[in-house]
C-alpha cells in the first residue's frame, strides 16, 4: 500500500478558529445570515482539511467588555451596541492571536462571523454589517499582552476597511494597507490614494483603490509592486490579513474578477501570521473554494487544484487598459508613500489637529457627527479626544491616552477627563488609558 502522506503534512502548522454562528443573522434575508459559512464548512469537511497533519480546528474565546473598551468608544455602552455573536467573533480573533503568540501553531485563521472592518473608533451601532472591529480588538489585545510593537494589517476585502483605517489613522505602529474596489464605484466610498494617515502617523495608512473588473493579474501586481515593498520597509513584527472574499468574480455585491486560485496565490505571497475573515457573500460559488484556498496556502500546502466549479467557463483575463491603469496606480501609491517620509507642514507639538467627520451607519440607519482632536506629539501617538453625537445618542466624549503615552499626553488626558466630568456637557464619557490599562465609562 502506498500513500503520499508526506505531501499532506502542513509546512506551517495552522490553527483554524471556525465559528459560523449558525444561529445568528442580521435578519433572515440579509447577506450576513446563518447560511453564510454553511457551504464553506461542508467543503472543508468533505476535503478532510481538519484531518491534515498540522491543521487544527479551535473553538473561539469570548471577548470581554475590557477587550472591546480597550479598542472602541462605545456609546451608550458596550452592551447596547453588541450582541453575544459580536463578542464571540471578536473572541475568535483573540483565540487566533493567542495560538500564534503562544507558539501553539505557526499561523492562524479566524474563520468567524460577523465581520468587523467597517466598525470605527466610535461605535453607536452597526455599519457595513459590522459593530465591533474584530481585527482591531485583536491588535489591541496582542499589544496589551505581548511585547509586540509593529503590526501590519493588509485588508484584501473588496470594500475599503474604513473602520480599521479610522482606528489606526493616528497610529504609526500599525501599518494599514487596503486593496479594494475604487470607492467611487462601491460602498463605503473612502480609501482614495491621498488618505495616508494623521499628522503623527503619515504614511502608515496606504490605500490601493483598484478599478472594477480587476482580475488575478491586477491583484497580484498590486501585491508585488506596492504591498510587499512597503511591508519590507515597515518591518512589522506581525502581519494580519483582513481576508474579505468579496473580490471574487461571483460576488453579488461587488464588481471584481478575482478567483479562488488568485486568493490562494495572494495568501502565499503575503505570508500573513494571522488571517481574519471579513466580507464575502457569494456563499456557494466563492466562499467554499476561497476559504479552502486560503487555508491550504497558509499551511504551505498545494492549492493548485482548487477551482470554482464554473472557473473553466469564465473568461477572467484582464483588460489591457485596466492593467495599464493599475500599473500607474501602483506608481502613484508608492510615490505618495515615499513623500510621507519627507518633512512636511505640521502643527507644533502640543497643539491639537482637528477633524470634523460625518458618519453614516447604513446597517442601523444612524447618523453621527464627530469632532476628533489629536495632540500633535513627537514623543508618542498623542492623546486623542473625540466629541460625538448621533441620531441615537446625545453628545458624548471619548478620551484615549495611547499605549506608551508620553507624560505630557498622559497628563493632558486626565485634564480633559476632569474638565469633562466637572460639567454636564456630555451624556457619557469613556476613558481609554492604555498606560494604566484603565477602560472606564462615566
Amino acid at each position: 500500500m502506498q500513500r503520499y502522506t508526506e505531501d499532506m503534512k502542513a509546512k506551517s502548522t495552522l490553527g483554524v478558529v471556525f465559528f459560523p454562528a449558525f444561529d445568528w443573522a442580521i435578519h433572515p434575508l440579509h447577506p450576513e445570515r446563518e447560511e453564510r459559512l454553511l457551504y464553506t464548512l461542508d467543503q472543508l469537511n468533505e476535503e478532510g482539511v481538519f484531518d491534515i497533519e498540522g491543521i487544527y480546528q479551535y473553538k473561539p474565546d469570548i471577548a470581554s467588555y475590557d477587550d472591546i473598551m480597550r479598542t472602541h468608544f462605545c456609546f451608550p455602552d458596550v452592551s447596547k451596541v453588541t450582541t453575544q455573536s459580536h463578542l464571540i467573533s471578536a473572541g475568535g480573533t483573540i483565540k487566533a492571536a493567542n495560538l500564534v503568540m503562544d507558539h501553539i501553531v505557526n499561523k492562524s485563521f479566524a474563520l468567524v462571523r460577523p465581520p468587523g472592518h467597517h466598525a470605527m473608533k466610535v461605535v453607536h451601532g452597526a455599519r457595513g454589517f459590522c459593530n465591533i472591529n474584530i481585527e482591531a480588538v485583536m491588535v489591541e489585545y496582542i499589544r496589551e499582552h505581548y511585547p509586540v510593537k509593529k503590526i501590519a494589517i493588509v485588508d484584501t476585502d473588496c470594500h475599503h476597511g474604513d473602520g480599521t483605517q479610522d482606528i489606526y489613522w493616528h497610529d504609526r505602529d500599525v501599518l494599514y494597507i487596503s486593496m479594494h474596489q475604487d470607492g467611487r464605484t462601491l460602498y463605503p466610498g473612502t480609501g482614495a490614494i491621498h488618505e495616508l494617515g494623521g499628522p503623527n502617523a503619515l504614511g502608515t495608512t496606504i490605500n490601493i483603490p483598484l478599478p472594477p473588473n480587476t482580475s488575478d493579474e491586477g491583484f497580484l501586481m498590486a501585491m508585488q509592486r506596492v504591498v510587499l515593498p512597503i511591508l519590507k520597509d515597515f518591518k512589522p513584527d506581525i502581519i494580519i490579513n483582513s481576508a474579505g472574499q468579496d473580490n471574487h468574480y461571483s460576488d453579488p455585491i461587488t464588481n471584481m474578477n478575482f478567483s479562488a486560485l488568485g486568493y490562494a496565490q495572494l495568501t502565499e505571497m503575503l505570508n500573513a501570521d494571522i488571517a481574519v475573515l471579513e466580507g464575502g457573500y457569494s456563499i456557494q460559488g466563492a466562499l467554499p473554494y476561497v476559504n479552502l484556498g486560503i487555508t491550504l496556502a497558509m499551511a504551505g500546502l498545494d492549492y493548485s487544484y482548487v477551482h470554482e466549479p464554473d472557473y473553466s467557463q469564465k473568461d477572467l483575463s484582464q483588460d489591457k487598459e485596466i492593467t495599464k491603469y493599475i500599473k500607474r496606480l501602483c506608481d502613484q501609491v508608492l510615490k505618495r508613500y515615499e513623500e510621507c517620509k519627507k518633512p512636511s507642514f505640521k502643527l507644533m507639538p502640543g497643539n491639537y489637529d482637528v477633524r470634523k467627520k460625518e458618519i453614516y451607519y447604513d446597517t442601523d440607519n444612524i447618523r453621527e457627527m464627530q469632532l476628533e482632536s489629536i495632540m500633535v506629539c513627537d514623543e508618542c501617538r498623542g492623546v486623542l479626544k473625540i466629541e460625538t453625537t448621533s441620531t441615537v445618542n446625545p453628545l458624548c466624549l471619548g478620551i484615549e491616552i495611547p499605549l506608551n503615552a508620553c507624560d505630557r499626553c498622559q497628563k493632558e488626558g486626565y485634564r480633559l477627563l476632569d474638565h469633562a466630568l466637572s460639567g454636564d456637557r456630555y451624556k457619557y464619557v469613556q476613558l481609554i488609558d492604555r498606560r494604566n490599562k484603565k477602560y472606564v465609562l462615566y
Binding site: 503520499y4 449558525f22 444561529d23 445568528w24 433572515p28 447560511e35 476535503e47 478532510g48 482539511v49 466549479p309
Partner: protein
C-alpha cells in the same frame, strides 16, 4: 441467556449472562494465525453444562478485520475515485489499483461535470486484466448526490463485491470515505468466509440464536448485515470494555473509565452516563476512517510496564518486557513496585524486592524510592492523559451561539477502574485524582460482558434540499424527491421513520428501537432577495448502550 465473546490481543474471553448474572466465563489464549480456533474453544468452554438452545443472542467482538488491515493481508481492490477540484485526489491514493476518474459534484450535490467514461473504461480494463474481483467506488460529495458512484457501480456488475462510498456513512469527508470504502472491500472476502464459519460452528454446538458483531461505537449489527459492511467490525475491543463497565456499574453522571491491562491503559469518557463518541470516526493504520467509534485512547502504561532508571530519572513503560518478577518475569514492573511499597501482596513478593534491589545497585537510589517514583510516574501519565482528553472534549468546536454559551461541560469526578491490575491500583488512583474510584466485580471479563449485552446501534444523517427537491439518507441508500414545502418537522419525522424501518428490517426488537435526535439544522437558502429553499440536516442515532432485556436481568 446472552453469550458475549471478545477476542483480545492476548486472551479471548467469553461469558454467558442470565437472570442470576454472569453464570459462566472462560479465558483462552488468542490464536492469531487462526481466530476460529480460539473462538471455537471459548464457545465450547463457556457452553459446558449449559443448554445451548437457551442462548437468545450471541454477540461477537473480533480482531479479524483489524489484524488483516494492520498486517496488510488484504485482497487487491480496484479503486475508482472521482474527485473534481479541491485537494488533489492523488494525495489519497491507497492500494495498488487506484484510479482517478474526472467528474465533479459540488457541495449542494449539483453535477458540474460528467464522469469521464473514457478514463473509466481504461481503468476497468486494467483491473479486469489483473483479475480483480472486488472494487471500491467513491466520489466527492457522494453523500449529497451519489450519481457518479452509482453509475460506476452499474458498470461493475461482474464484480464479486463493490464497496460504495456513500453507503459507508452520511458524513462528509472524502479522504475518510475513500479509506473506509477501500478497507471494506479489502477485507470483504476474508470476513465473509469467517462469518459463515462462525455460523457453522455455532450451529454444530446447538446454538440457534441470532449472531451479532460488535462495532467500535459499542453497538452491534446482525452478522448477516455486517457481510456487506465488514469494515464496521474494526477496533471493537475498547468499546467492549466500555459497554461492560456500563453493564457492571450503573453510570448516570460524567465519568472516566480506565481499563488497565498488562501493557496498556485504555481511557474512555462518559457524559451524563453515556459513552462519548469520536467526532468523525476511528483511525486505523495511518488512515482516518468514517467508522463510528467511541472516544477512547490507549496509552502505554499497565501493570507489566517495565521500570527503567536513567541517571536519577525513574520511568515505566511504554515497553512490556514480559510479566512482573512476582509472576516469574525477568524485569521489575509496576506490579513489583506495588509489592515493594506494600500496597499489594501479590504472588512472589521476594522476587519483586530482588528486582528493585538490582535497580538500586545499578543506580544508587533506594529500592523503595524507585518503586514509589515508578508508581508516581505511571500515575502522572494516566492523570495527564485523562485531563488532556477531558480538555479536548470541552474545547471541541461548536457552531452555534447557543452551544457556545450553554453547551455541556464535561466535569467527571468518578473513575471506573477495570482490567487485571485494576484493584491493585485503585488506592493510588484515588490519591492521584482525588476522585471517587470504583472497581466493579467481574472487572476482568468486563470486555466479554460488554460484548454480550451491547445493543444494536445505527446512526443516520438525513439531508434535505428543498430547492433541488432532494432528500438523502446516504447510508440507508435513500434518495427521493421531496416537495418544495418540505420542512424541518417533516425531516425529523422522516429520519425517525427511516431509522425505524431499517431497525425493523434487520430484526431489532421493538424495545431496542429508541431513536435519539442528535442534531437538527435548518437553513434558509437565499438567492438575491428571495428565499429559494431550505437546507435541512438531521442526525439521529440509536445510542450505544445495554440491551433492555439485559438491563432487567442485571438489575440496572
Amino acid at each position: 441467556m446472552y453469550l458475549g465473546l471478545d477476542v483480545g490481543g492476548t486472551h479471548t474471553d467469553a461469558v454467558i449472562i442470565d437472570k442470576s448474572g454472569v453464570i459462566a466465563h472462560t479465558k483462552v489464549a488468542t490464536t492469531h494465525h487462526n481466530l476460529l480456533e480460539c473462538i471455537n474453544e471459548a464457545f465450547k468452554n463457556v457452553l459446558t453444562g449449559i443448554d445451548p438452545s437457551h442462548i437468545k443472542r450471541v454477540n461477537l467482538s473480533t480482531t479479524l478485520t483489524t489484524n488483516a488491515i494492520i498486517e496488510n493481508k488484504c485482497e487487491e481492490v480496484g479503486i475508482f475515485v472521482s474527485g473534481g477540484p479541491g485537494i488533489n485526489p492523488a494525495h489519497y491514493s491507497i492500494g495498488n489499483y487506484y484510479f482517478i476518474i474526472d467528474g465533479q459534484i459540488d457541495h449542494r450535490g449539483t453535477e458540474i461535470t460528467l464522469l469521464n467514461l473514457h478514463q473509466l473504461e481504461k481503468a476497468l480494463k486494467k483491473c479486469r486484466k489483473k483479475d480483480i474481483k472486488v472494487y471500491t467506488v467513491v466520489s466527492k460529495f457522494s453523500t449529497r448526490n451519489p450519481i457518479h458512484e452509482q453509475y460506476i457501480q452499474q458498470k461493475l456488475s461482474d464484480a464479486d463485491f463493490v464497496s460504495v462510498g456513500h453507503t459507508m456513512s452520511g458524513n462528509l469527508n472524502f479522504p475518510r470515505r475513500i479509506a473506509t470504502a477501500y478497507y471494506n472491500a479489502a477485507v470483504w472476502r476474508l470476513y465473509n468466509t469467517f462469518s459463515y464459519a462462525i455460523e457453522e460452528s455455532l450451529k454444530s454446538l446447538g446454538v440457534i440464536a441470532p449472531v451479532n458483531i460488535l462495532k467500535a461505537d459499542g453497538g452491534t449489527i446482525p452478522l448477516h448485515v455486517s457481510r456487506s459492511i465488514p469494515v464496521e467490525s474494526i477496533l471493537s475491543g475498547p468499546a467492549a470494555s466500555v459497554i461492560g463497565t456500563m453493564a457492571l456499574c450503573n453510570i448516570t453522571q460524567d465519568a472516566v473509565m480506565l481499563d488497565i491491562g498488562g501493557t496498556s491503559c485504555d481511557i474512555a469518557l462518559f457524559a451524563d452516563g453515556a459513552p462519548l463518541i469520536e467526532k468523525d470516526g476511528i483511525r486505523l493504520n495511518t488512515h482516518n476512517t468514517l467508522v463510528r467509534s467511541l472516544k477512547t485512547k490507549s496509552i502505554g502504561i499497565g501493570g507489566d510496564s517495565a521500570i527503567k532508571v536513567d541517571g536519577t530519572a525513574v520511568t515505566a513503560g511504554p515497553q512490556r518486557l514480559g510479566m512482573s518478577m512476582a509472576e516469574g518475569g525477568q524485569n521489575p514492573t509496576i506490579i513489583d513496585a506495588l509489592n515493594v511499597i506494600g500496597t499489594i501482596n501479590f504472588k512472589n513478593t521476594a522476587r519483586s524486592q530482588e528486582g528493585l534491589s538490582s535497580l538500586e545497585k545499578k543506580s544508587g537510589i533506594p529500592a523503595q524510592t524507585i518503586a514509589q517514583q515508578a508508581i508516581t510516574y505511571a500515575l502522572d501519565i494516566i492523570y495527564n492523559e485523562v485531563m488532556a482528553m477531558i480538555d479536548e472534549v470541552n474545547s471541541r468546536p461548536v457552531y452555534t451561539i447557543h452551544e457556545f454559551l450553554k453547551g455541556k461541560v464535561l466535569q467527571p469526578k468518578t473513575i471506573y477502574l477495570i482490567g487485571g491490575p485494576a484493584k491493585t491500583l485503585a488506592f493510588h488512583i484515588t490519591q492521584r485524582f482525588g476522585w471517587n474510584v470504583k472497581v466493579p466485580p467481574y472487572s476482568q471479563v468486563a470486555n466479554a460482558i460488554g460484548a454480550a449485552v451491547a445493543r444494536t446501534t445505527v446512526d443516520i444523517e438525513l439531508f434535505a434540499d428543498t430547492q433541488r427537491c432532494r432528500l438523502l439518507v446516504p447510508n440507508l441508500n435513500v434518495n427521493i424527491r421531496i416537495p418544495q414545502d418540505y420542512d424541518v418537522d417533516n425531516a425529523i419525522e422522516d429520519a425517525t421513520n427511516y431509522m425505524m424501518q431499517f431497525l425493523e428490517s434487520i430484526g431489532v426488537d421493538e424495545r431496542e428501537r429508541q431513536i435519539e435526535i442528535l442534531q437538527v439544522y435548518a437553513f434558509n437558502m437565499v438567492d438575491g432577495f428571495e428565499t429559494t429553499g431550505k437546507n435541512i440536516r438531521v442526525h439521529c442515532q440509536v445510542k450505544p448502550g445495554i440491551l433492555h432485556q439485559c438491563r432487567d436481568i442485571l438489575k440496572i
